[in-house]
Subunit: 375 residues, 2 copies
């Protein structure tokens, strides 16, 4: 029996739009949040999709995420702005900030907008895609709850700190979006569920020694005993640990440092989110013929895809290719949602007074989920 | 017996300044090239220091590097420029481009300058330090001869593609400068000399399979049979190979793509360099109080250095700390130059009609180097 139920994009969109409105967001805000979440599901990044609905709802209930607040511009120039998100929903704040960066870049050629006092904003790649859809180069980064241990440390001092960069190309753009840790916490949780040992170079325990014991590492992280996930490049300098740690720092510079916001290890402590984001937009026209630049990249991406494959491999991907294919497939064939998530959505719907059968179908009523947090 | 001779910074500077003038560069150009080379030696990056003198001389003799050419600005806006380096010396072109980016950023807040048709420009971190020394945030990247194999490929399609970012801080700045490959070709050469097996995740042979045989991999690379060095993150997606490959692409975007120049796999073929660089400068003032931002980063860097260490480790470094310490040490105690390099410098000096004893001391006359290329 499948662990998944299949829903059309439109039915998930209707559910999320209506749920977020019931959370207290305006129709426009709800549409933005839904759009960010569902792009993750369309791309196949389940961890950042509808799966997060209940977690966001809990964070609103706790007051960590505030509804009804507006982004406040605290500093501004023609090429920059600093926004205080006032503990608002990360997606709403991220969207406003990226919109502002796009408008400024259209006038000035380049712009950077940083955001402080925000909350989890979903996938970084959503915001860079906004720029890319208008023919612009987009960059976005965010800090997160601390999870990355610096090289030779044993306490998490940086977040998973993803950086995303999008650049227009044909037949699909370059869409790079990667955490600066070697893996994410979600991966550790999957290995823990499957009782599989972690790979070398992924994580350390509270002593700072490498550990392949997922349960142990996750316990260290949850209890804040020390330990965490290693930077891209693993634990040693000879495998490039200091490089992943450096990229994590770059994310910090463009989110928490330039905005004078909280660095990762201070976020999500004591009921305060404090997450920071950064957004940069560059109009390729400031380098001459934007169309020629786009075609130059398109040709290179095609050469990469067509270059000789390693033995046993039949395909070299360029960044964004998998996501674009996944999106096309899921728009046509629907999106598979884990039954645990469907059960959570059902419980949430009942709590919010939504018609479960109309939104999620009859089968949703029969699924055994974990005990509902809404009882 | 030591394999090294010790020279003061000043004596190496005098040697290099005079040698580059004899190559045909102006006094001002010679000083720039020397400055870039010696910063590498001061930082302890021997591969990019005076060690390169003879190689640059050979490239000039071959006509790969042209002396007496000027950077030509082919496109310009208040926040950007594209420079055609006309096959000139990378350091001279890089310096001019970064100077231009700094001037523009001082006026507009942010600027990006890209360069095409250049040659090897030394360490990327030299240029970002130029910005940092003026209280600005600097970013620089370059492509290089192809050496990085994309994830699941077996042909090198990207360069080592370093990216450097500098950000003002006290008591020393954040200076991040890293190739986007897991290691550099120089490291493979060292392991080959020592007859040590390469680490897993470093390199592949011409079949696309991982290989720990340094000699074999280097032969594949030299003969352009396929094979090369893996991206930061190794050969597999679960260790983040696609992330290092993505960062290599980002270097390509900001150097060869935006300048409409040659992508790495087309450079240094048929007597043409074709190397491309990118430079970005951001004035932190466009985010408000530049001094507050600097102190915010300084405090975070100190927290990182003071955070708990892994068992068996007594120090966590922040990026740039090692280089700053090395520079102070070498300015005081001199710079150790490998005797093979000293022999090359002696042969070069004799070829150029320089007084070997006056520049390098009597001992330089007695060193057995490899057979001189100047006979």
């Amino acid at each position: 029996m499948s662990n998944y139920m299949n829903y059309s994009y439109d039915s998930l969109k209707k559910f999320c739009d209506d749920a977020f409105e019931k959370f207290g967001f305006t129709t426009e805000e709800a549409k933005i949040i839904t759009d960010v979440l569902l792009l993750a599901d369309l791309y196949g990044i389940e961890s950042h999709g509808t799966q997060r609905l209940v977690r966001y709802h809990k964070d609103i209930a706790k007051g960590l995420i505030k509804v009804g607040v507006k982004p406040e511009v605290v500093f501004e120039t023609p090429v920059s702005a600093v926004i205080d998100a006032q503990d608002g929903m990360g997606q709403v704040m991220g969207y406003a900030a990226m919109k502002m960066a796009i408008e400024k870049a259209k006038k000035s050629g380049i712009a950077i907008v940083t955001v402080r006092n925000s909350t989890h904003y979903g996938i970084a790649g959503y915001y860079t895609k906004m720029a890319c859809d208008e023919g612009l180069i987009g960059l976005s980064t965010t800090n997160t709850t601390a999870i990355m241990v610096p090289t030779y440390g044993r306490k998490a001092m940086l977040g998973s700190n993803p950086i995303a960069i999008s650049f227009p190309a044909d037949p699909y753009p370059f869409l790079f979006d990667a955490s600066t840790t070697v893996v994410t916490r979600g991966k550790l949780e999957v290995y823990n569920k499957l009782d599989k040992p972690l790979h070398d170079g992924w994580a350390i325990d509270s002593t700072g020694n490498e550990s392949t014991d997922a349960a142990k590492v996750l316990k260290c992280i949850a209890n804040k005993e020390g330990g965490g996930i290693l930077p891209l490049g693993g634990s040693r300098e000879d495998s490039g640990s200091h490089k992943g740690y450096g990229w994590g720092m770059v994310a910090e510079l463009f989110s928490s440092i330039l905005s004078l916001g909280m660095t990762s290890e201070k976020t999500n402590v004591g009921g305060k989110g404090g997450i920071c984001h950064g957004f940069m937009v560059i109009d390729p026209k400031i380098f001459g013929d934007a169309e020629a630049i786009k075609q130059h990249l398109s040709a290179y991406l095609e050469e990469l895809r067509n270059s000789p494959k390693a033995e046993g491999q039949d395909r070299i991907y360029t960044h964004g290719e998998k996501e674009i294919a996944a999106m096309a497939d899921r728009m046509k064939n629907g999106i598979n949602i884990n039954k645990n998530t469907v059960a959570e959505m059902r419980d949430l719907a009942q709590f919010l007074g939504m018609d479960v059968v109309a939104y999620l179908g009859e089968e949703a009523l029969t699924i055994q989920g974990k005990e509902s947090i809404y009882k």
